[in-house]
Symmetry: C3
Subunit: 273 residues, 3 copies
C-alpha cells in the first residue's frame, strides 16, 4: 500500500500550496520537488484563495506566523475545505507562546484539517488547549517512552476522533492514527533532529502524499512518515569523515529524490499499535 | 562577446539590490556572490530607494509578493529608472492569481524594465493582460515546440518592442530578444526544473550581467541565460550514485562560481532565430 | 578557556531566540544546531517577549528589517534585559540606509546589548551616528590595515566602554574587546566572504556561546569568533576540484558541527592587542 501511495504521488505530481515559515521554506519546496510534486508558496490574503483553488493540497505551518499570514492561513484553509482539498496543519511551537497556541486552536476551529502533525509537546498543547513547551522542540519531560506509549496512542486516537483529522505525533517512535487504526513507525535517525526543518518537510510531504491519494489518506500519511524516517536513515548511512549536519540535510533531500515505491515498501518499519 | 560580458561582471563586481521572494532568496544571494558580485536585499518602503541608489542594478521578483513589498518594488523601480540603473522583472506566477497578474502589469506600467524574464505561461499572461497558469511552473499546454517556436519568437519580439525591454522566455529552449535580434539558447538540463529557484537565480544573475555591461544589455542577458544553462549541464555531469536534487543545487552554484569567460564562450549554445 | 566555553555550550544546549533576516535564517538555525543548541525564530510583536522569556539568549539582526520587525526587536531586547539574558546585535548594513542606521541607533538606545558585532563600516556608522557604506559589505576604504589597526582597536575599546557591550569588528583580522582587554583574531579565510550569511551565523553563534557562559562573556565571544574563523579554514581545506562557494557553505556548517573544545583550543589564533 505504501508503495502505491508513493507511486501515485510521483504519477499525479500534485501542486501543493504552502503557507509556511521563512526558516525552512526553501527546503520544503525542494522536498516537494524531490517527491515529484510542484510547490507554490503564497501568503498574501488577496491571493491565497485563488492559489489554493488551483492546487491539489494545502500545507499550513505556523513556524513564523504573523498578523498578515494568520488570516491568510484561515482563508486558504476554508477555501480548501469548500473545494474538498486536503489540508495539513503543522502547529510549530504551539505551547511556546500564547499567539501560537491560540492561532493553532483558532485554525482548528475554523478549518477542518485532513492531517495534524506535531511533536508530543505541541500535540499535548492542542489536546489540552494550553501548554508550555521549550521553543519548537519537544520537551524532554514529554518524550514518549515504552511506559507512556499506550497512553499517548489512546490520547492521539481520541484527538483524531474529536477533530476528524489524522493525527501524527513525531518522536523517536512516530504515531499515526485516524482514531480507529493506529500505527507506530520505527523509521528515523537522531540526526533528523540536528537540522532545522525536518518536521516542516514532513508536513509538506504529507500534504503531497495525501493529495495524490485522496481516498486513502491514512496510508498516505503513514507512507510520508515512513519515507521521511527511512530517508533519514539512508542519509545518515551515506555520511562519512568530516560530514556534519549540513551535508546530512543535502543527503536527506537527495534520498527523498531517489526514493521509489519498492524501497519504501521494503524499508518501512511500522506496526499497528 | 559573452566572454567579455562575464569578465566585465567579475571585474566590476556590481552591487545588486534584490526585492525577491523568501523561498529562494538565499540561493539568489549566493549565486550573485558566485558571480563575483555583492548582493543586498532590502524591501522596506522606507529604505528601498536609498538601497537602490547605492546599487548598480535592481532585481524585482514577485514570487512571494505582499502588500508591503509591492509598493517597495514600485518605488525602487522608479528610483532605478531615474538613476539610469538596469532593472530586471521576474513575474513569478503571473497568471496564477489576480494579484500576481495585476502586480506585474502595474509594475510594467510604472517602471521601465531593462529585462523581463519569465516562463512561457507567465509571458503569455503579461502579453495578453490575463492568464491562468498552474502555480509557478509553465503549463504543459504552453510549452514551446518546434511547431510553435516561430510564433513564440515573433510574439516575444513584438512584446520587446512594445515594452522597450529585453524579453527572456525560459523553457527547453530559451528565447532572448530585444525586438530586433532574437536568440534561441540550447543550453540547459531537465534537472534545473527539479530544484526551486532556478528562474529566480537567473533573474538575479541577469541583473548582475546587465549591470556590468550597461551598453551591451542584449549580449549580457544572453550571457546570463547561456551561463545558467551551461552550469546546469555541468552540475548534472558532476552527479553520481545517490546524488539527488539537493546535491544538484550545490553543484549548480559551484559551477557558477567556477565559470569563467573562456568556458562560457566555448560552452554556450545559441543561434539567431 | 575557549575550550571550556565551547564545552559549556555543548553541555548546556541553550535555546536561542533570533529575530533575523530571511536571507540567511536557515543557515543561522542550522549553525545553532551544529553548535548543539536549539534555535527558535519568532518576530511577531504579540509573541516575541514570551519567546524571549523561554530562551537563554537573544540574537537581533537587522538584515531585512521592516516596520513590523523593528518594534519586535525592541520589545524582545527590553524583555531580555529585564530577565538578564544576553542579547547580541548585528547591525547589518548600518550606514547603507537611514532606516538601518536609525534602527541600529534606536535599538542601542533602548536595549543594553551584551555584544555588538559588525564589519568596520557598520561599526564606524554606529560610533559616529551616521555613515555611508556599500550595501552589507565593508567598504574597501574602511578595511583595517596594520597602519590603521591601532586606531581601530582604540576606537573599539572606547565604544565598548561607552555602550557597556563587547564589541566585535570583523575583517581580515577580527577585533574583540570589552573596553579593557582587546583581542586580535587571525583565524579566517577569504572564502568566508564568498557566501552570504557568515556574519549572521557568527552573531547567532556568539549568542549561543555567551548564553552558555554568562559569567565569561568576553572569552565566550572570543571563542565564537575564533570558531567561525577556524571552521572557515577547515572548510576551505576540505575543498577540491570543482567545489565552489555552495560546497564551502556546507563544509563550513559541517565543520562547526564537528568542532570540539580540543580542536578549538589548538586551532585558535589570537593575541591581546
Amino acid at each position: 500500500m505504501l508503495k502505491e501511495c508513493l507511486e501515485n504521488m510521483r504519477a499525479r505530481t500534485p501542486l501543493i500550496h504552502s503557507i509556511t515559515n521563512y526558516v525552512t521554506v526553501n527546503d520544503c519546496a525542494n522536498v516537494l520537488l524531490a517527491c515529484g510534486c510542484s510547490p507554490v508558496m503564497a501568503d498574501d490574503i488577496r491571493e491565497v484563495e485563488e492559489i489554493t483553488a488551483i492546487s491539489n493540497g494545502l500545507n499550513i505551518n505556523i513556524g513564523t506566523l504573523n498578523h498578515s499570514t494568520i488570516s491568510s492561513m484561515s482563508a486558504a484553509g476554508k477555501k480548501a475545505n469548500v473545494l474538498g482539498l486536503p489540508v495539513v496543519l503543522d502547529p510549530v511551537g504551539a505551547g511556546a507562546s500564547t499567539l501560537r497556541t491560540e492561532t493553532a486552536l483558532m485554525l482548528m476551529n475554523e478549518v477542518h484539517f485532513t492531517v495534524i502533525k506535531g511533536n508530543i509537546s505541541e500535540m499535548k498543547t492542542l489536546v489540552s488547549g494550553s501548554g508550555a513547551t521549550k521553543g519548537v522542540d519537544a520537551d524532554l519531560a514529554d518524550l514518549i517512552t515504552d511506559a507512556t506509549r499506550a497512553a499517548a496512542v489512546n490520547s492521539a486516537k481520541a484527538f483524531a476522533r474529536k477533530t476528524g483529522a489524522i493525527i501524527v505525533i513525531t518522536g523517536t517512535v512516530d504515531i499515526v492514527t485516524d482514531g480507529t487504526t493506529a500505527y507506530a513507525v520505527h523509521n528515523g535517525h537522531p540526526m533528523l533532529s540536528k537540522i532545522t526543518g525536518t518536521g516542516c518537510m514532513l508536513s509538506a510531504m504529507t500534504a503531497a502524499y495525501v493529495a495524490a491519494n485522496p481516498d486513502n489518506a491514512l496510508e498516505a500519511t503513514l507512507a510520508a512518515v515512513c519515507a521521511m524516517g527511512l530517508c533519514g536513515e539512508k542519509a545518515h548511512a551515506r555520511m562519512s569523515g568530516t560530514d556534519g549536519n549540513a551535508t546530512f540535510k543535502i543527503y536527506l533531500i537527495d534520498a527523498i529524490y531517489n526514493l521509489y515505491g519498492k524501497t519504501l515498501k521494503s524499508g518501512a518499519q511500522y506496526e499497528i499499535c
